[in-house]
């Protein structure tokens, strides 16, 4: 006998609807029901919180929440583009816009909210938009192509997101907020002022304390706005982002109880006035009289209903924490707990620095327990402070030390050990520290991605991921999990340990290090991993070890990867590329001409690099000395593009030319590039100097980045572009030239000393115990007492610097390697040939397809430099 499963109908497939489906699957409720989903939008649920990232390159598909096959796997019937238009609670049916009527046994409304558009004249004109769906963004993007000025009505969270998007689309951007400050719900007056200053410095114009009276329309299009203070603004595009309202129409028309100011009334089990109907998320009016416009409370409701449908003990929903941490226009804004100090007897601890746009306020009780706070400009402490708010435990350190800026004498930050097990680490998914620890101890998770999958912590906004990593690492360590941290099969030590051994025992060769400290059998050759790594350590410490400062001398010559061995970059066809150093990206016309002449003479493909220099491709090994003797004669030196070493220090044009510049960024970039050139490190090092807060040099994407302030320089560390982009963290601010250089000296030497092989500063900073705070303690406050030693090591490196290419050209011994064939010096390598493309050359890969191809192509008429002939034919 078969029984028909009851039908569970979900109306609304947004973020909360999707979380509900996940919870149905997790709790097993999915198996008890035939689950039908009606979605209004043409695509499944997507990350609406991350909507703005659509403008920074995430496609609509990237934003989707469900992994491939999710709905099929669980047998969910999803109908896209099928909005529900009426509900008949008596008959238990819902009718769609297309006229289909569906019966249900249980109905869950997750209809979300709609953007509130104030009832002003002209609001429907062409050029007026809201900011809610991917379609809205696509419409704004298309319209902005013909626009110059854009205005956002609403200076709250979404309004500032929208402003960021307009700015990113290249529009002159205005924000109009009715309240006297930005983000009136989350921050106080002083916080709003700090936020405003920073946002204005980015070129967004902020108007507060005025209301929009009307949109001026000409020929059906918006052309301007008029305000309550009778001022006007000419604009081509208006985005309304003045809050949202619950979409309760379906329930309201069906006679379910709704709130006076909207929202479907629910009890603490999310049940509406009809026992067969639940409402969750932004459409619901919770028992505390609030409609929650954040995703985290919606998720709690979704899980609660799923648990009830699975007949499990369900967590009632009585209200939620409104804590938020966001990055708006690049500015951190966080607000948590009792942010406005409404608890009787509460006290404030405030730090405010209008110059850097940092404002921090902690609300505490007289006994020193944390109640809440507001962080603007630097919200790095949010992840540890928020879980402590309201726990009733006194803070482990004085509150004032927690608001002081990085680099101040007594600034501290709390580690994960300060948190009790019941502290909520991930507020989006309500995951406690205890749950995360259990994932490691009870579920054998050993990595952050595993823990994220197991607990859902850190899968939404991501602000807790760093803290998550620390908790996981602490727990693994406490559990005694052993991992082979050895560099390679030859050494059981990490790179950092080998560095210490080499330094302390003054071991100048790989062979000696392998014999005395390796784990490989006697007579081992070492391997392709430890040889270059040890060579790099020896190069970094050469003056200390009294080893040769040239990487092609003695044993070092045999340890280098091919790039270092030929002082050039190996390309796919066996040819090399050449990059002369162009410090700070500044170059004279004469030097540019030399590069052009050399490229032309040797038939090299030329391309501008991302680091503001010029890469010359297609040189064979025997051409390298000829190319470099020309370059060295013209005053160029090695750019070390081939080394795990300092690459470039990019710069913007700075205060010399730019009307916004506040410091001479070019001079500083040149000074830094010349100071650290040739420095061998665990991985490549990139840097940049920006002359003002507009950050045109993209310094925060670099290993060490410098940004000018009116008071000097801010130093950022640990940034990265590439596959895992990371914004650099502020290490210290308002430094003079001397302080800046001293801190970079220490930072780089500390990194070289403690990083793993091929570990960029970004991963090193995330991995190293204590993270940024520890690095700051060591580098800025000298907590280990090694600052002087680090500076001395750097000073010796700088004193020992020589241009590797000039030194190579001067030494016949070093020059002997630059032949294609040891038995036929002067004969070019016949496998390196080129074909034309866009007026330049590219490798002839057909020649390399089989050995026969090469043999067939060998004929005695070959020109000594085949590229010449190719180019001639191309011309």
């Amino acid at each position: 006998m078969t029984t028909t499963k009851p039908t569970l109908l979900l109306v609304g497939y947004g973020m909360v609807g999707h979380r509900f489906l996940e919870a149905l699957a997790d709790t097993g409720a999915a198996a008890r029901y035939r689950v039908v989903v009606l979605a209004e939008e043409p695509r499944p649920a997507y990350d609406r919180v991350g909507l703005t990232s659509y403008f920074s390159g995430r496609s609509a598909d990237d934003l989707l929440l469900a992994e491939e096959g999710f709905t099929d796997r669980h047998g969910f019937e999803v109908h896209l583009s099928s909005p529900a238009v009426s509900l008949d609670p008596a008959a238990r049916t819902v009718t769609t816009a297309a006229g289909h009527t569906l019966s249900y046994d249980t109905l869950v409304l997750a209809t979300g909210s709609y953007p509130f558009v104030p009832p002003v004249d002209g609001r429907d004109a062409e050029g007026c938009f809201v900011y809610r769906t991917i379609e809205d963004l696509q419409a704004i993007e298309a319209y902005s192509a013909g626009a110059r000025v854009g205005a956002v009505v609403g200076g709250g969270l979404l309004g500032l997101e929208a402003a960021g998007a307009l700015k990113g689309l290249g529009l002159e951007t205005h924000v109009v907020e009715f309240a006297p400050r930005l983000m009136p719900v989350q921050v106080d007056d002083a916080g709003g002022a700090a936020l405003r200053r920073t946002i204005e410095s980015m070129g967004v114009v902020v108007h507060t304390g005025i209301g929009t009276k009307a949109i001026t329309v000409a020929e059906g299009r918006a052309v301007g706005m008029s305000f309550t203070d009778d001022s006007e603004l000419a604009t081509d595009l208006v985005v309304f982002s003045a809050g949202v309202r619950p979409r309760d129409q379906l329930a309201r028309e069906a006679g379910l109880t709704v709130g006076e100011r909207g929202g479907i009334a629910i009890d603490e089990h999310c049940r509406t006035s009809d026992p067969h109907v639940f409402a969750i998320g932004e459409c619901a009016l919770a028992v505390d009289g609030r409609v929650y416009g954040l995703v985290a409370p919606g998720y709690e409701m979704a899980v609660s209903v799923a648990q009830q449908l699975a007949e499990q003990a369900a967590q009632p929903f009585t209200g939620a924490d409104l804590s938020t941490k966001l990055k708006l226009l690049g500015v951190d804004v966080a607000s948590f707990g009792d942010a406005f100090g409404s608890t009787p007897g509460s006290l404030d601890v405030v730090y405010s620095d209008s110059r850097s746009g940092v404002y921090k306020k902690l609300v505490v009780t007289g006994e020193g327990e944390l109640l809440g706070g507001i962080l603007v400009g630097d919200a790095s402490a949010y992840a540890t402070l928020r879980p402590l708010a309201g726990t009733g435990r006194p803070l482990p350190v004085p509150a004032e030390s927690l608001v002081l800026p990085a680099g101040a004498d007594t600034a501290v930050s709390l580690g994960s050990s300060a948190l009790p097990d019941e502290a909520v680490v991930c507020s989006c998914n309500n995951v406690t520290k205890g749950t995360i620890r259990a994932a490691v101890t009870d579920h054998q998770c050993t990595t952050v991605p595993e823990v994220k999958k197991c607990t859902r912590a850190g899968t939404n906004c991501g602000s807790c991921v760093k803290l998550l990593g620390t908790i996981v690492a602490d727990e693994l360590e406490a559990g005694g999990v052993e991992v082979d941290r050895g560099l390679c099969p030859c050494f059981a030590h990490t790179r950092a340990e080998l560095y210490e051994i080499v330094l302390v025992k003054r071991i100048p060769t790989h062979r000696q290090l392998l014999a005395e400290h390796g784990r490989a059998p006697e007579g081992s050759e070492g391997c392709e991993v430890c040889k270059p790594t040890v060579a790099s350590i020896i190069a970094s410490l050469a003056p200390e070890l009294e080893a040769s400062g040239h990487i092609l001398d003695g044993e070092q010559s045999g340890l280098q990867d091919t790039n270092d061995h030929f002082l050039a970059n190996l390309q796919k066809n066996g040819s090399y590329s050449v990059v002369p150093r162009i410090p700070g990206g500044e170059i004279t016309p004469d030097k540019l001409i030399v590069i052009g002449e050399v490229a032309k003479e040797f038939g090299l493909y030329t391309k501008i690099t991302g680091g503001q220099r010029i890469d010359l491709f297609g040189a064979s090994v025997d051409q390298l000395p000829m190319i470099w003797s020309r370059l060295v004669a013209a005053g160029f030196e090695s750019g070390h593009a081939y080394g795990k070493s300092l690459r470039t220090v990019k710069s913007c044009v700075g205060s010399t030319w730019c009307r916004y510049g506040v410091q001479d960024s070019v001079a500083m970039a040149i000074q830094l590039e010349l100071r650290y050139r040739g420095l061998r490190s665990p991985h490549k090092l990139k840097s940049a100097v920006s002359g003002c807060a507009r950050e045109c040099a993209e310094a925060r994407g670099k290993d060490f980045g410098v940004i000018a302030t009116t008071n000097g320089w801010n130093l950022y560390v640990g940034g990265n572009g590439g596959a895992t982009p990371r914004h650099a963290d502020l290490l210290a601010q308002d430094l003079d030239d001397e302080q800046l250089v001293r801190l970079i000296d220490r930072f780089l030497m500390f990194y070289i000393r403690t990083a793993d092989r091929l570990e960029r500063t970004s991963t090193w900073l995330e991995r190293i115990e204590g993270g940024l705070d520890h690095v700051r303690e060591v580098v800025v406050e000298d907590s280990l007492g090694i600052a002087e030693e680090l500076e001395a090591l750097m000073a010796r490196h700088i004193g020992d610097y020589q241009d590797e290419w000039a030194a190579t050209l001067a030494d016949p011994e070093r020059m002997r390697r630059f032949v294609s064939f040891v038995n036929a010096p002067g004969v070019p390598d016949p496998s390196i040939r080129f074909v034309p493309e866009r007026d330049q050359v590219k490798p002839d890969l057909v020649l390399l397809a089989t050995e026969e191809q090469l043999l067939a192509a060998l004929d005695p008429d070959n020109a000594p430099f085949p590229a010449d002939r190719i180019l001639e034919e191309a011309r």
Binding site: E525, G558, L570, V822, D829, L854, L855
Partner: protein
């Protein structure tokens, strides 16, 4: 094949007989050199840390580029000496030509001696 060195010239066997490669001193321990063979093919000749010499094809079968002579040599825990391609780092046993990272791939081995 390997022969422990005592003399000063390195030679390579090809169908045309033994042909000179270079002076022994030109070989850097742990590195290789490229040799142009009379028929236009290329070989890579290596010297290891114990002064043994090896010769294999210079062509990297994974990329087609003639670059194996520019790879670093290493040894496995059981003592097999190999060269790692400088392009994508696949390792080739210098005695057998076997690729240690892909059992379907093998490169030709040549015979070198010091005389």
């Amino acid at each position: 094949m390997t022969i422990t060195a005592s003399a000063t010239r390195v030679e390579l066997l090809s169908p045309a007989g033994w042909s000179p490669v270079c002076d022994w001193d030109l070989l850097v321990p742990g590195r290789g050199v490229a040799v142009l063979l009379p028929d236009g093919r290329q070989a890579a000749v290596f010297r290891d840390g114990s002064d043994r010499i090896y010769a294999v094809d210079n062509r990297d079968p994974f990329t087609g580029a003639y670059v194996l002579s520019r790879g670093l040599i290493g040894s496995t825990a059981d003592g097999r000496v190999y060269v790692a391609s400088p392009l994508l780092k696949q390792r080739f046993d210098l005695l057998t030509g076997e690729c240690l990272d892909d059992e379907d791939v093998r490169i030709a081995v040549h015979t070198a001696r010091s005389a």
